[in-house]
């Protein structure tokens, strides 16, 4: 408890120091009296008695000071004093103080916001128990993807034979289904999951229950679990929802549970979970791969060992079913990696950029503080001459820097919160885990500590320097002369660093910007202006088969075509830029050996007008026409990429292919231009189009209507919806968007990271230029006298201009040179994000250097003007 007494005493001494001091004085006075009396009693003269007493005590004032030291609060008292003085002195130079604060706050906020984002998305573990044991399970084939979706039969075999998973579940990537009942038919995002998915993740329902095993086998399939968000939005968080039914795709589903908030599997947008059951035929389907699989590894088994065992199991299965499984393997990917791996490169780059910005902020503050301190040499010399010790001076300057740092941090915190929110708002949809991000206090603390350390380090420099010289020397000097220019060398160095850092960030932004520009100008292979896309999916409950599908689309297109302003309307199963796409394997008539279960090509259903609506050029043969009917010979139109891949030497027209060995055979009747598909950055994939009227796969129930107009396609959205509801009032409409928007969306992620990077680069440019300006202005200020003398001695304006500009240009050039070297090294890290431009693209490097150089010269102009205005008569008197 002694430390408590100590603390209490010190606190008391701090708060009631003046009273303690009075008591001490009284105590000393009493002592002197007693001593004097003792001396008097010994027969000493009163005068001498008092003198002796004082001598004996050793000076009342000294005793008082030493005793006050014993209170252990001197440092705190001085700290308060320094703080008050520091704040006053900061307030005396509002320009420098304001600039330092702004820079500190901006750099801190940017770094914190970005790191918070990265932390939330990339670093923090997934929100499930023991998330490190969760893996995504893929099948692999050398000729297909490393991460291929899994066939139903494989999944069933795995669940029966594997020994490495505690739990294993399969699901379909989200599908849109219609919710009908009250109000407009609504599209909800449903995930079809086996009960194993939820037990694998280890997530329990917050209300009710999750699926029981029977619901994944042959039990009641018409049950549903709601997401927390959907439950609140649609049902007002009614706890009585359990046992009620909701109408999904025309079928009543009983609500059995509500998931806790934050449950974001497979995607954050999932509204409902439905049990996934496999029919008998699906359980034996080894051919079509469509399932996604997630598993929880047994405790203690490593990813590599599990993968090896699964591959051994797959090999054993391949021996039983060589025609389907030879060559297939299994690939395990940690679920965390699976979820965020795609966004990692971009985020890592942004993180690096924010780190550079933070560094730049520190350098800039260092710069400003240093410039400020040079002007305080005299003040420090005076203090020293008056007896301030070196350590006392250092402490005082540190306190001042501390105050600056603390103020900067205080300003940065709200900015960081705001910046994190803005980043989240700016981010495109579909970035995984975005909703999990929040301002991270640890990150803020780190960035704060870094800037604080910088300002402290820089703040103490003048005190260190001053102690090297005799204060008398510096007290003698008059106004600063050119001899003092040497004192700005650290400043020069910092400015060079600043310019270099700005250059690095600007080059990064330049390279990313060029990539974005190149991509946005890529010819997608079709004309998207003036086209509205209306996505539909016919529920199986009211549309039993192909005949019903055809009838509906025919009627719907008819109504839409009749709308005023509509030039033409057509339909396609998977329009460019949206949708996962559908692909099929096939046999070539002239080369049946080439059929491999592994090779598939995009397959789309289209109406006759599709190619015209999107202005996709016909290169050879013909497109579909009214003559291609259900009962006429089946035909296909292929794109150029497919023609080149399968018939590189010959004409594709007249070739035939089939989807089964038994036929029927489809004849290629036309070749059309390539279109970029979902990923505008990838080369257009091979694709084939079949006429909607010859549709065979009954379950392909979805189509997107493309409505072309001369004007703004958005004005057609509502009329088009009404037209469709005239045909079927219960049909949910998945989305109505202009194809132009879809094209923009496809680049949204890239636009996001390019924008953020560009913002950083912009701030960096500003900081770098401010730094340069500051140093030049400061140097002109210090050299007024020298410049004045030069002018008095006949120097012309030209030589003064050379003096100032030469220095500015020299600093900028050194910074640009240094930055170029650094950028050459660092830009390789950007390579993964670049498109159509090399990381060392000379044009970008030169342009950015020119821009930076020009801006740097502009920054030199105000100081130059001031230098030219110097009146020798005034500075020399």
């Amino acid at each position: 408890m002694r430390w408590l007494t100590d603390l209490w005493f010190r606190a008391l001494a701090l708060v009631r120091g003046s009273r303690l001091d009075e008591e001490l004085q009284e105590e000393i006075a009493f002592h002197l009296e007693m001593e004097t009396e003792k001396n008097l009693a010994a027969g000493i003269e009163p005068e001498e008695a008092r003198r002796l007493a004082r001598r004996h005590l050793g000076g009342a004032e000294r005793v008082r000071l030493h005793t006050r030291d014993a209170w252990g609060v001197r440092w705190a008292q001085e700290l308060l004093l320094d703080l008050r003085y520091g704040l006053r002195s900061l307030a005396k130079t509002p320009g420098v103080t304001g600039a330092s604060l702004t820079i500190l706050a901006v750099a801190l906020a940017a770094a914190t916001a970005l790191f918070s984002l990265v932390d939330g998305i990339l670093l923090r573990p997934l929100p499930y128990p023991a998330p490190e044991r969760l893996v995504a399970v893929w099948e692999t084939h050398p000729e297909r993807s490393e991460k291929n979706v899994v066939s139903t039969a494989s999944f069933v075999d795995w669940t029966e034979r594997e020994r490495v998973f505690e739990d294993l579940g399969a699901y379909y990537q989200e599908v849109g289904i219609g919710l009908t009942g009250e109000g407009d038919p609504l599209q909800v995002t449903a995930a079809m999951v086996t009960p194993g998915v939820l037990t694998t993740l280890g997530v329990d329902a917050s209300l009710g229950r999750t699926f029981v095993p029977e619901e994944g086998e042959d039990g009641d399939a018409d049950v549903v679990i709601l997401s927390d968000g959907f439950w609140r939005r649609r049902f007002g968080a009614d706890p009585g929802i359990l046992g009620e039914t909701v109408r999904l795709d025309g079928v009543e589903h009983r609500v059995v549970g509500v998931m806790p908030p934050g449950m974001a599997f497979p995607t954050p947008g999932t509204d409902v979970w439905l049990p996934l059951q496999f029919s008998e035929s699906a359980r034996n389907d080894r051919k079509s791969h469509s399932l996604r699989v997630v598993g929880r590894l047994e405790t203690g088994i490593s990813l590599e060992a599990a993968e090896e065992q699964m591959n051994r199991l797959e090999a054993a299965l391949a021996e039983e079913h060589p025609e389907f499984l030879s060559g297939w393997g299994v690939n395990l990917v940690p679920l965390h990696e699976e979820t965020v791996g795609q966004v990692r490169p971009a985020l890592a780059v942004l993180l690096g950029a924010s780190g550079l910005l933070l560094l730049l902020g520190c350098v800039n503050v260092a710069n400003l503080l240093l410039a400020r301190s040079v002007n305080r040499d005299r003040e420090i010399a005076v203090r020293q001459a008056l007896g301030a010790s070196r350590s006392r001076l250092i402490r005082q300057l540190l306190t001042e820097s501390l105050a600056l740092g603390l103020l900067g941090g205080a300003a940065a915190l709200p900015m960081a919160v705001w910046a994190t929110r803005s980043l989240r708002a700016l981010a495109p949809a579909g970035i995984p885990r975005l909703e999990e991000t929040a301002v991270d206090t640890r990150v803020f603390a780190f960035a704060f500590a870094l800037t604080l350390a910088t300002s402290l380090l820089i703040g103490v420099l003048p005190a260190l320097r001053s102690s090297r010289t005799d204060p008398a020397d510096r007290l003698h000097v008059g106004p600063p002369t050119s001899a003092d220019a040497g004192g700005t060398r650290p400043l020069d160095l910092l400015v060079v660093c600043e310019v270099a850092l700005s250059l690095v960030l600007l080059i990064g932004a330049g390279l990313l910007g060029r990539s974005l520009w190149t991509l946005s100008r890529i010819d997608p292979g079709f004309e998207f202006r003036g086209v509205l896309a209306v996505s539909l999916d016919l529920p199986r409950s009211s549309y039993a088969g192909t005949a019903e599908h055809l009838r509906f689309y025919e009627h719907a297109l008819e109504r839409v075509r009749a709308l005023p302003g509509v030039v033409e309307a057509s339909a396609i199963s998977d329009p460019p830029l949206i949708g996962a796409g559908t692909s099929r394997s096939f046999i070539l008539e002239e080369n049946p050996e080439r059929q491999r279960s592994a090779e598939t090509v995009d397959y789309r259903l289209a109406t006759d007008d599709y190619f015209r609506t999107l202005r996709i050029p016909l290169l050879e043969g013909r497109v579909f026409g009214p003559s291609d009917r259900q009962d006429s010979p089946p035909v296909l139109v292929v794109n150029e990429a497919m023609a080149r891949r399968y018939w590189p030497e010959d004409d594709a027209l007249g070739r035939r292919l089939a989807f089964n060995a038994e036929g029927p055979w489809y004849e290629v009747v036309g070749v059309v231009g390539d279109t970029r598909y979902k990923d505008p950055e990838a080369p257009p994939p091979p694709a084939m189009y079949a006429p909607l009227r010859q549709k065979t796969w009954e379950w392909m129930s979805w189509m997107t209507l493309l409505v072309k107009t001369d004007g703004d396609p958005h004005t057609l959205a509502e009329p088009a919806r009404q037209a469709i509801w005239e045909v079927d009032p219960d049909l949910p409409i998945l989305a109505t968007r202009s194809v132009e928007e879809l094209a923009a969306d496809a680049l949204s992620r890239r636009r996001f990271h390019t924008t953020v990077f560009a913002l950083f680069a912009g701030v960096a440019l500003l900081l770098g230029v401010l730094g340069l300006y500051g140093v030049l202005a400061f140097s002109v200020e210090r050299r007024r006298r020298e410049i004045g003398i030069r002018m008095a001695l006949g120097a012309r304006k030209g030589s003064v201009t050379r003096l100032v500009l030469g220095r500015g240009a020299g600093l900028a050039a050194a910074g640009i040179a240094l930055g170029t070297v650094v950028a050459l090294g660092l830009s390789q890290l950007l390579a993964a994000l670049l498109y159509g431009v090399r990381a060392t693209d000379p044009a970008t490097f030169v342009t950015v250097a020119l821009v930076l150089g020009t801006v740097a010269l502009v920054a030199c102009l105000p100081p130059l003007r001031r230098a030219l205005k110097i009146d020798p008569a005034r500075v020399l008197n």
Partner: protein, 110 residues
């Protein structure tokens, strides 16, 4: 002031103050006088360091103080030993005795 008598190293002064106060509460001047008397004028605490020592000991919680009236009807600050201070005194006394015996032995060795 001859080095042979009077100068006290800090820890020793603390111990002597505690010892003095173990008898009865006392003011600063009285403590100084008493140490001098008890040591037959061999030890003369430097009064410049007496008050810092008293305040430091107070801060450490070994002694406490209050204002009282002396027999001559004067206001003076009286220090007294706390329980923690008494334990500290015992500890320091024992430590001191051990040390001085050891020094004695060394000095008596030929």
């Amino acid at each position: 002031m001859a080095k042979t008598k009077g100068d006290l190293i800090q820890g020793t002064l603390d111990m002597l103050i505690l010892k003095t106060l173990a008898l009865e509460p006392m003011h600063g001047w009285g403590i100084s006088e008493r140490i001098q008397q008890w040591s037959d004028d061999v030890l003369q605490p430097n009064q410049g360091s007496l008050y810092p020592a008293l305040h430091r000991l107070t801060r450490q919680g070994w002694i406490a103080s209050d204002w009282q009236t002396t027999e001559n009807n004067r206001r003076a600050k009286y220090y007294r030993l706390t329980a923690a201070g008494r334990r500290q005194l015992d500890e320091e006394t024992e430590h001191w005795l051990r040390l001085s015996r050891a020094v004695d032995r060394v000095l008596q060795t030929v």
